[in-house]
């Protein structure tokens, strides 16, 4: 089956992959029974996404296609038990699910907002009863939803930090290296520059032979660079974002990366199973 390109607008992807019946819910008014919907997992042949039950899970939004970011699907299911995603995807231990890579049959997985059954009984003391999500509510068009996901509202502390200090230092660790380094993300304006900089910094720990190829027009890591990091050195560059999840560097626009990156880790690609091959795919598709 053909791989669809990564560069689909999330709404298109979302609509194609979204299994509405699984995410659609009925609500009753306070005091009335709301019919439980037990949605079984479903795999749409074409875009092979997985349903996850994520009560209390974190909410995520569809990525835009900027930079050919990967798309992950999960639609929340009714029910109180967690269900494991198909495709052997990795997900964060906190129960919020981000499917990182995944060697599943399909590379198209769309991120969609989590849906859980809203318990509308007033007397119910369920911890997350009040603020559960419903499909299509609040009524905001996909484009706006996606834009907001990319540009999360800055709270005052962040804004101040950004405006006052002209730098953004983050720790960088490398597997096998005896000590960490710190880099100022503000001194770079693209992934290419970052990767060159890191390379220089860690070359003493033998990153490997990296020939310099031109970067692609986009902010994403050029394929050759990634190849070098991967094959030449068997390393993959990852970062921890604001939510505490470990992500592959290069997926999101540079600006978003600098805003959400807390620290970085150059990990051995054998530790990052599922990450690297997907990144390779992504690079190929992007070019």
């Amino acid at each position: 089956m053909s791989l669809q390109t990564e560069e689909k607008a999330p709404t298109m992807e979302t609509n194609k992959g979204l299994n509405l019946k699984a995410t659609e819910l009925r609500l009753g008014l306070p005091g009335s029974e709301s019919p439980e919907r037990n949605n079984s997992e479903e795999k749409d042949g074409k875009s092979g996404y997985s349903h996850l039950v994520t009560s209390g899970a974190k909410r995520v939004f569809s990525d835009t296609i900027n930079g050919g970011s990967g798309k992950w699907v999960f639609s929340g299911n009714a029910g109180s038990d967690g269900e494991v995603a198909q495709n052997g995807a990795l997900f964060s231990p906190r129960g919020g699910a981000k499917i990182l890579g995944g060697g599943g049959a399909e590379s198209n997985i769309v991120k969609e907002s989590v849906v859980s059954v809203p318990e509308k009984k007033k007397d119910q003391a369920a911890p997350h009863a009040a603020k559960t999500q419903v499909v299509g509510w609040p009524p905001i068009r996909s484009f706006r939803k996606n834009s907001m996901a990319i540009n999360p509202p800055k709270n005052d502390s962040d804004a101040e930090e950004k405006l006052n200090s002209g730098c953004l230092y983050v720790k960088v660790s490398m597997d096998g290296a005896p000590y960490l380094r710190k880099v100022d993300l503000k001194t770079y304006s693209s992934y290419f520059e970052l990767s060159s900089g890191l390379e220089k910094m860690f070359s003493c720990f033998t990153i490997g032979q990296c020939t310099s190829h031109g970067a692609t027009a986009r902010d994403g890591l050029s394929e050759s660079r990634l190849v070098d990091l991967l094959h030449g050195s068997e390393y993959v560059l990852t970062y921890e974002d604001k939510d505490g999840d470990w992500m592959l560097v290069g997926d999101v626009p540079w600006n978003m990366f600098t805003e959400t990156c807390k620290r970085m880790r150059i990990m051995k690609s054998c530790d990052a199973t599922g990450l690297a091959p997907r990144a390779m795919e992504k690079c190929r598709n992007r070019n």
């Binding site: 995410t23 835009t64 907002s113 603020k131 999500q133 996909s142 405006l163 986009r218």
Partner: protein, 585 residues
Amino acid sequence: MDPVRKRTKDLSKSVDSAHLAPFPDEVLEKVLSLVKSHKDRSSVSLVCKDWYNADRWSRSKIFIGNCYSVSPEIVARRFPNIRSVTLKGKPRFSDFNLVPQNWGADIHSWLVVFAQVYPFLEELRLKRMVVSDESLEFLANSFPGFKVLSLLSCDGFSTDGLKAIATHCKNLTELDIQENGIDDLGGGWLSCFPETFVSLEVLNFASLNSDVTFDALERLVSRCKALRVLKVNKHISLEQIQKLLLRAPQLMEVGTGSFQQELVPRQFAELETAFGSCKNLHTLSGLWEASSVYLPVIYPACANLTYLNLSYATLQSDELSKLLPNCSNLRRLWVLDTVEDKGLEAVGSSCPLLEELRVFPADPFDQDMVHGVTESGFVAVSSGCRKLHYVLYFCRQMTNAAVATIVKNCPDFTHFRLCIMNPGQADYLTNDPMDEAFGAVVKTCTKLQRLAVSGLLTDKTFEYIGKYAKNLETLSVAFAGSSDRGMQSVMEGCPKLRKLEIRDCPFGNEALLSGLDKYESMRSLWMSACNLTMNGCRQLAKNMPRLNVEVIKDEESDDSEADKVYVYRSVVGPRRDAPPFVLTL
């Protein structure tokens, strides 16, 4: 070049009835061609046969609010001289993922007919239609005089389709691509406009995600001297927008790209100058990631602004408070709720001429709901902006008293769309339902055309609406009402109701059938996640043969449940392109 078809005159007839027909047909047609609004045109065509014919022959623009209410063949037969078509397809709730993919509303069959009968078609404006690349290519090659393409909330095409448009439409004046579900395969489409192409007046690609070649864009902007609207996407940097503004100081509407870039003072000054040199600028949007550091570059242009769209800029209240005193001429303002109530107070005090306000939630799924706007922001705006007549307000709390105050301050509301984001939430001070709030709205705002309700609502709200909302045309309801009586009240009242969309309400068959007499005078009815059954829908269909009663089948639900129901009037009967999950009863 322009063979407007004329019918042959039956001279004898006109001589006989000369005393009854004071105007020759040509004069009548000329006069009627000055009647622009499609509603007026409709009325004109109903006066008498002569006027019907005169309208027929002279009509050049057609508006079809529901593509399934009529067929392209019927349109072609009645109106031989159409130059401009506006078509709307899917029900509005498809914007919120309530309509499955492949539901329909494909433009292609329309284009095929148009290519045969309207070779001189110039304008196509589509909303919520499915448009494929093949259709776009067909369009580009079928209509040599094609000028205006506007796609809003459509899906099914990619940037390849745009390539075809740019390449072949030599006379294009308007390309407006907004908020579509599109496959963005790259920005190369923009480079497809030939170097000889100079006619562009409107270019809006703000919602496309990939980079265009800036060189190509700059050259395009330079040579299109009549360009008046330019809205770029967020890949265009501040530096680049400055260059574009220099090339096109005649611009009236500008959508900037990203507003976040490290600028040296010289660049900052250049940007200020650039904005200041646009003397005709009245609309400004974009401003992605705008921060207070660079926002002041737009100050020179602010005095003339009538429409400012800040809904993609996560501004805080103090940033907005600093900006708005420069914008005293504003009529329309869109913001994010990051500005909070304090920012809205600034709106109230700085923009006395404001007519429209939209406040969008920056974080609609915010677990804790500690941010955003409340009732006091809305009240503050209403007390300073007495001309306010259009509001869309997403908030986390509201009270009946506040709404009563708001409409007392601004009784001229025509569009009142209030979204209390937590479904079924009561007045947070009194714990009462929000019935009295909307009661106040409909009682006070006699010109109300569009209403969206939210919060905890009983049937009382709908009794108020039915009784008082004499001019209401569009009503959106979600998570509201207590019984069939609610919907019935609306169906029994609201004489001008045209569009009714309902989700997650306890309205059942009785409510549905109470509107039997009304649906033919409406464009459409949408009901999802209510208490309708297949039998109820069948009964409606049986009694009203000129309505299409469509049920979108949900695999999960019972066979007897009618989970999503879409009812609309049509002169062409059940549609033939319905997918298997849509049952027409």
